[in-house]
């Protein structure tokens, strides 16, 4: 402890007495006000321990005086929101889908609620406006694999398609090709061209349409129907219309016949609450007016 305080000759500031390689360290402590503020915050933090949840324990945490939790706050805010939405919104839970669609006010509420839910859950596959993509149906048109009534849409939404849910929509396109396949490559090509002819598309030169018709009747008609008009019970698409989920070119059709098709949609009843599901069904219905 030196009694004599050394001062730097240039700045006049006191030094700490430490010295490295001839360089002396100036003593410039933190301002007093800053230090006291810092002590004050330490004292303040003790108050936090008492009031707010703070310390982890073996099986939980100290809850603090008021049992405050952000989760409870969110729950309360959601309850307030529900109250704000009012009686009409509560009616969505009990009203039938048909009644919701026919009441302009309820329809507006359901659509307003369904739209963000669609964006959160459906848009990744079906697109933000429900326009779909290859393999993901367009929800704005009138072609419904599993039916386009309100109840059909709700059922598909609730239980999904080939989702593994016991009530899921089941039925998939069988693969006809491969090594031990039911049909040979040539036969698949012929069948594919016959399918194209069903909706008036051009046929590859030299195709034997009569052979194709027979192949179709033997292998395809059981699901897709004699005229290829499909079967909504098992999700067999209409092959005679202008809408092609996987494309209408020969190669795409050959690929479908060879390897089969079996896209999956999740069962949303396992993930979303009943009111949101109802609102979603109404919203999806309203995109196209259903069928």
């Amino acid at each position: 402890m030196t009694h004599h305080e050394e001062h730097d000759t240039v700045t006049g500031t006191a030094t700490t007495g430490h010295q490295w390689d001839g360089i002396k360290e100036l003593n410039t402590p933190l301002p007093r006000w800053w230090v006291y503020l810092f002590y004050a915050t330490i004292i303040w933090s003790v108050g936090y321990w008492v009031v707010y949840p703070t310390w982890p324990t073996i099986s939980g945490y100290t809850t603090g005086w008021f049992n405050y939790s952000t989760r409870a706050q969110v729950r309360a805010e959601l309850a307030d929101l529900e109250k704000l939405r009012g009686e009409k919104a509560a009616v969505i839970a009990t009203a039938s889908l048909r009644n919701i669609v026919q009441d302009p006010t309820l329809l507006a509420i359901a659509r307003a609620r369904g739209k963000p839910a669609f964006g959160d859950n459906c848009a990744p596959c079906h697109g933000s406006g429900g326009a779909g993509a290859k393999g993901y149906p367009n929800l704005n048109d009138d072609d419904w694999l599993w039916g386009g009534t309100l109840d059909d849409i709700k059922q598909t939404l609730d239980f999904g398609v080939r989702s593994g849910h016991p009530k899921a929509r089941e039925g998939s396109m069988v693969p006809f090709g491969g090594k031990d396949g039911i049909l040979k490559k040539e036969e698949i090509k012929t069948a594919a061209n016959f399918v194209r002819s069903l909706s008036g598309l051009s046929v590859a030169p030299g195709t034997d349409l009569n052979a194709g018709r027979k192949l179709f009747a033997d292998n395809c008609a059981s699901c897709h129907g004699d005229g290829g008009t499909g079967n909504k019970e098992i999700g067999a698409p209409n092959l005679a219309d202008k809408i092609w989920l996987y494309g209408s070119d020969e190669a795409s059709i050959i690929e479908g016949i060879t390897n089969g098709r079996g896209a999956v949609m999740p069962a949303w009843s396992e993930r979303l609450d009943p009111v949101t599901l109802k609102a979603l069904a109404v919203y999806i219905y309203s995109l196209s007016g259903g069928k």
């Binding site: 669609v101 026919q102 302009p104 406006g129 202008k242 309203s286 196209s288 007016g289």
Partner: protein, 497 residues
């Protein structure tokens, strides 16, 4: 003389040409220190006009929210109401929707032009008689005078030590001021909700917090602006004096000291002596009454100045003195430089209210006013907005037909519910469907929209064949009131995939 010096120190009244050396030596502060003004009571014609206008302005402001106007059972019955929750503005028989707020632009233009016209005819009529700052400051001065006494007493009291009696007096004054300020803030919020209901809610502490907050803000601003800042608002804060000075011309009548009559100044005794000797003496007896009564603390005899709000109180003060000394009144009057020069030259004064400037202002006021009246009288009570789906823009259907979907909003501004039919023109053979609407047996979709409401509907337009259609076809959505035949239309497009 001291008075004149004081004015020059103030910096507004006189512009001296200083040499650089003088500028260097000039130690005058950049900002004028505030000198408290103690206006003296005065009576006369302009004071009476001011009292009258104050009563009218404050009466309208405080009482208008309580005026009722019957609009039927489901509509507010307040004559003037800004209804934010329901996005409506009511003014007696007029009801405005948010998209019609541009009418206020027209009103603002009219207000500005009226201000210009007033200025071209009679100077700062707005400042002197109608501006809220003037009206409330005048009211606060009246309270001050009532509690503390007139000018001399107030000056003396401010200079003496605080006594218990003085403290009680000050407390009384500020209590009354705060009460007026609070009432001013209270009246303001009544324009935004049903006034009688809100008054009860406020009194029972059940009114929304925002109402109390606004009352608090306006109580504070009224108290500060009218109680303390007073003429400084006019001199330092308000832009209008600067604009007014640039807009005025030599014909505009302003509160003017007729120096041709007033100068040279002598005491009454000296002036009488001089006149007895047949020499000329001005009418001004330098009594200082015009300065004593001035609410902005200036001397009108220094000529037109930015601080002068032209309230005319100095005219009243001077007239009283002139009557007493047996000289003609209106030594200070609404006048202009042209007439002073004409009188000096021995010609009769002329007043020219009709000049290119006033004609122009009046014409523009008439034109803008007519346009606004026309627009208001012929505005639509039915409207339609259309928003084309962006994704997907167009949808191909299974039979090869093409569909476009639109979100349509129908606006019914009438006070009764209406049955509206929707047509889409520009497409042959198009099928128009409103989602959720059973259009059984109807040739076109029909929808009911409630009174004073909008209805959003989703409309699907389907065309059987894409042949003969361009990539994009112009279409119009036409909505028709089946009862009145009133129509509205919106343009949009029908697009092919």
């Amino acid at each position: 003389m001291t008075l004149l010096l004081r004015m020059s120190n103030n910096g507004h009244a006189m512009n001296k040409n200083l040499t650089p050396a003088e500028l260097e030596a000039n130690t005058e502060p950049l900002y004028a220190a505030h000198k408290k003004v103690y206006p003296q009571a005065v009576s006369g014609r302009f004071r009476r006009i001011k009292w009258g206008l104050m009563a009218v302005c404050l009466g309208i402001y405080y009482l208008l929210p309580f005026v009722r106007w019957d609009r039927g059972p489901d509509a507010p019955s307040q004559a003037v109401l800004v209804d934010f929750p329901n996005s409506r503005f009511y003014f007696f028989f007029i009801e405005l929707w948010p998209q019609e707020v541009y009418y206020f632009t027209g009103l603002l233009i009219l207000a500005a032009l009226a201000l210009f016209l007033m200025n071209a005819i009679g100077g700062r009529i707005w400042c002197g008689y109608l501006c809220p700052q003037t009206v409330w400051t005048d009211l606060f001065y009246a309270v001050e005078r009532l509690v503390e006494g007139d000018r001399r007493e107030r000056i003396k009291k401010d200079d003496s030590k605080l006594t218990a009696g003085r403290v009680a007096e000050l407390a009384t004054k500020h209590t009354i001021w705060i009460f007026i300020a609070w009432w001013t803030g209270g009246a303001w919020v009544l324009y935004f909700a049903d006034a009688p209901t809100l008054v009860i809610d406020l009194a029972t502490f059940r009114a929304p917090v925002v109402a109390y907050v606004w009352i608090g803000i306006l109580t504070f601003t009224t108290y500060a602006l009218a109680g303390f800042m007073r003429e400084q608002v006019c001199v330092y804060m308000c832009p209008w004096p600067r604009i007014q000075a640039a807009l005025t011309d030599e014909w505009a009548l302003n509160v003017t000291y007729r120096y041709d009559r007033g100068e040279p100044r002598f005491s009454l005794k000296k002036a009488t002596e001089l006149r007895a000797q047949g020499e000329r003496a001005g009418d001004c007896v330098d009594c200082g009454q015009c300065v004593a009564v001035c609410p902005t603390g200036i001397d009108i005899r220094n000529g037109a100045q930015l601080d002068c709000i032209q309230c005319g109180l100095c005219i009243d003060a001077c007239d009283a003195v002139m009557t007493k000394v047996g000289r003609p009144v209106r030594l200070i009057a609404y006048d202009n430089e042209i007439n002073i020069e004409r009188r000096v030259a021995g010609k009769p004064p002329i007043f020219k209210a009709v000049r290119p400037r006033t004609v122009l202002y009046s014409t523009v006021i008439a034109v803008v006013g007519s346009i606004m009246l026309y627009v208001l009288a012929t505005r639509a009570f039915l409207d339609i907005n259309v928003l084309h789906d962006r994704n997907p823009i167009a949808v191909a259907l299974s039979d090869g037909s093409v569909r476009n979907a639109y979100t349509v909003r129908l606006l019914n501004k009438r006070a009764y519910s209406r049955t509206l039919a929707l047509d889409v023109t520009g497409l042959s053979g198009a099928q128009v469907q409103i989602v959720g609407l059973d259009s059984l047996g109807m040739t076109r979709p029909v929808i009911v929209v409630g009174r004073d409401q909008t209805e959003e509907i989703r409309v699907l337009v389907t065309v059987p064949s894409r042949e003969s259609l361009d990539k994009s076809t112009d279409v119009a959505f036409v909505v028709t009131d089946l009862g009145l035949g009133e129509m509205a239309a919106a343009r949009d497009h029908f697009i092919l995939p």
